[in-house]
């Protein structure tokens, strides 16, 4: 069956009538209109012909010997090759029952003889047009069904990808982080069932070990639309903590702004990393113990005295071993800080004490370098890790002294900036997120402590002011040889200060000196 639309002038019509005169009349009439006509006198011939080469329309007489029109029509309708061809009966029978039967057997029209040529032609045209429309409709249907199948296949493809992905995937609302859908990997990682998760927010199932995490993620999404490869810790149903590498994208699902979370469980990798760091610590520090100890003992002189030359050489060995120990400490420190293994142990401490301790610790070095150390302390309570802040201050002082010429001065000072200290309550488990929870928001900007370490050294070029806080970056490549230092000190300082929600930066004038600033938020601690 051709699906091409039939152009009326080229339509193919089969005429069936046992009377040759009628046949000729109809045939002539149709041919004149441009139709292609086949004429047969017998029903059986007509059927064979129609099956072999289906016409576009059939004109069918009723009263015929052997097989009458009704039977022919029934046969036509019973065969899939011919069932859709419109059949118009042409007959002398005028009775209503005859007409009804014609329609019953599947005819589309009934013309009584004698007929008017114009009428026959009009009806034929009409039914050909209808047949065209039918064909169009069928073609469209077929196409639509194909499209639906294609869509379903595509849908299935993506649904399968979502369902079978080894990565935990979750879709949640952007507004609240409320779960819309999660895949089986998510459920198996988190230990929850689908019912327990859908409709809940990530906070409601206590997913994040850091409760601020989701707010941070959603904020990032709203601002930039994406978050890539950041580490977070999540809590499973059974309370296990897992580390994930998370990427999030903002997507629009039927008008609702959503977040697509894709995670990578790196708990095992982190565990191995930590084990590695432990192993490396041990493997490096154990021989250093023997080495340092052996040199110390030689230096003590009780295993025989060395000549002056020998003592000098020993001194070099000791200095460099000490330097190696510091380097190992710094590297491991930084590595552990970056992998989150070192938490700041914050408590109440006083800025004045810290400054005094730092000064005391560096006095000997300053004296040796003939550098004057001037401290202007400021007594204010701080919520910080005193050992780590001290480490930062001594590091900055050490740098300042190293890069100062004899006779110069290094200043260490602290002052309060901005408004009133914010009130804060401690909770029994709370050591980390202290500065984020404010019981009563103040209308003033939060108070900050500004610490400055100022020197009169050679200064730092403007384009290096940021980079010196990176690992192993020193202003001058020769510095590490001449001035000592591991090149990690400022990187460690920055890590420490950032973990206190503070800022550290440097300002400098070449040839005149530099000032390193530390800014720490002050929270007035109220224990509760």
């Amino acid at each position: 069956m051709s699906s091409q639309p039939i152009s009326p002038q080229k339509a193919n019509i089969l005429v069936i009538d046992d009377t040759p005169e009628n046949l000729n009349l109809l045939s002539a009439m149709l041919t004149e209109q441009g139709y292609k006509v086949r004429s047969v006198t017998k029903g059986s011939t007509a059927l064979r012909g129609a099956q072999a080469s289906p016409p576009d329309l059939i004109l069918l007489d009723i009263n015929m010997p052997q097989m009458n029109g009704y039977e022919v029509c029934q046969n036509l309708k019973a065969d899939f090759r011919t069932q859709e061809i419109p059949v118009i009966f042409i007959s002398a029978l005028e009775d209503v029952l005859d007409k009804v039967k014609a329609f019953e057997v599947g005819g589309v029209d009934y013309i009584t003889k004698p007929f008017q040529v114009e009428e026959v032609l009009a009806r034929i045209e009409n039914h050909l047009a209808i047949r065209n429309l039918q064909k169009q409709l069928q073609a469209q249907n077929t196409q639509l069904q194909q499209e639906i199948r294609d869509r379903q296949q595509a849908e299935e493809k993506f649904a399968k990808a979502f369902r079978s992905s080894p990565n935990p995937i979750a879709i949640a609302t952007l507004a609240e982080g409320r779960f819309i859908d999660v895949n089986p990997s998510f459920l198996s990682m988190s230990g929850y069932s689908l019912e327990e998760v859908i409709g809940q927010t990530t906070a409601e199932i206590s997913l994040w070990t850091d409760t601020e995490a989701i707010a941070y993620i959603l904020q990032q999404l709203k601002e930039t639309g994406a978050l890539h490869n950041q580490e977070f810790e999540v809590c499973t149903k059974s309370g296990d903590v897992k580390t994930i590498l998370l990427s999030v994208e903002r997507i629009d699902l039927a008008g609702v702004q959503c977040a697509l979370f894709i995670a990578n469980d790196i708990t095992e990798r982190k565990r191995l990393e930590n084990e590695f760091i432990s192993l490396v610590s041990h493997e490096l520090r154990t021989p250093l113990t023997s080495l340092m100890g052996a040199l110390d003992i030689l230096g003590a002189g009780q295993l025989g005295t060395l000549t002056e030359g020998g003592q000098k050489v020993l001194s070099i060995a000791i200095t460099n071993t000490e330097r190696l120990i510091r380097l190992v400490n710094d590297i491991l420190d930084l590595e552990r800080m970056k992998s989150g293994k070192i938490n700041m142990q914050k408590n109440k401490c006083n800025a004045a004490d810290l400054l005094a301790q730092a000064t005391e610790a560096m006095q000997a070095m300053a004296d040796l370098a003939q550098v004057k150390l001037q401290t202007k302390p400021f007594a204010i309570e701080l919520w910080a890790d005193p050992d780590r802040i001290l480490q930062t201050l001594t590091n900055l002082l050490s740098n300042a002294i190293k890069f100062s010429e004899p006779g110069k001065t290094v200043w260490l000072s602290a002052e309060l900036k901005n408004g009133e200290p914010q009130e804060h309550r401690t909770s029994f488990a709370d050591t980390e997120n202290v500065s984020q929870k404010l019981s009563s928001p103040s209308s003033q900007p939060p108070a900050t402590l500004l610490i400055a370490v100022k020197d009169q050294g050679r200064g730092i070029p403007g384009d290096k002011l940021q980079i010196i806080f990176e690992r192993f970056q020193q202003v001058d490549a020769s510095d590490s040889r001449h001035k000592g230092g591991t090149g990690l000190g400022l990187a460690i300082c920055r890590n420490i200060i950032e973990q206190h929600d503070g800022k550290i930066w440097a300002e400098s004038t070449l040839g005149q000196g530099s000032t390193f600033y530390i800014c720490l938020p002050i929270t007035h601690v109220v224990s509760g």
Binding site: H282, T286, T289, L291
Partner: protein, 128 residues
């Protein structure tokens, strides 16, 4: 004040250096053990005044040795100082937290300076 001390560490050089440092530096009587197992039997037999215990040893590690020392009435009362390469001096207090209930007297970090060891141990245990 001639104290006796048992050093438990699987590294031969570390034992040798520590022993020299304590003998030369403070005249202490130094016993050594190269494993947790050996440490347990020497401690029980000789009852030193203090045990210096390395944390990272193969087979029986520091933690297991410590548990056994505290479980044995013969060695329960001997103060134990843990030595670890895992942390720096400034983080020793955090490390102790991992051993609540096991009565650790102190935690020392590696590398230590052997000539200063006697003084540091005495300070940690309140002997001076």
């Amino acid at each position: 004040m001639n104290k006796s001390i048992l050093i438990v560490d699987d590294e031969e050089d570390v034992r040798a250096i520590a022993k020299l440092g304590l003998e030369m530096g403070a005249g202490w009587n130094v016993l050594t053990a190269n494993s947790g197992q050996e440490g347990l039997s020497i401690a029980a037999s000789y009852q030193p005044d203090v045990i210096l215990l390395d944390m990272m040893m193969p087979n029986m590690d520091g933690r297991a040795t410590l548990q056994q020392l505290k479980a044995n009435p013969a060695t329960q009362g001997i103060p134990v100082i843990l030595v670890t390469a895992k942390v720096q001096q400034s983080e020793r207090e955090n490390f102790t937290g991992l051993f609540t209930g096991l009565n650790v007297a102190a935690v020392f970090a590696k590398p230590f300076r052997p000539l200063k060891l006697a003084k540091e141990i005495s300070e940690a245990l309140g002997w001076i």
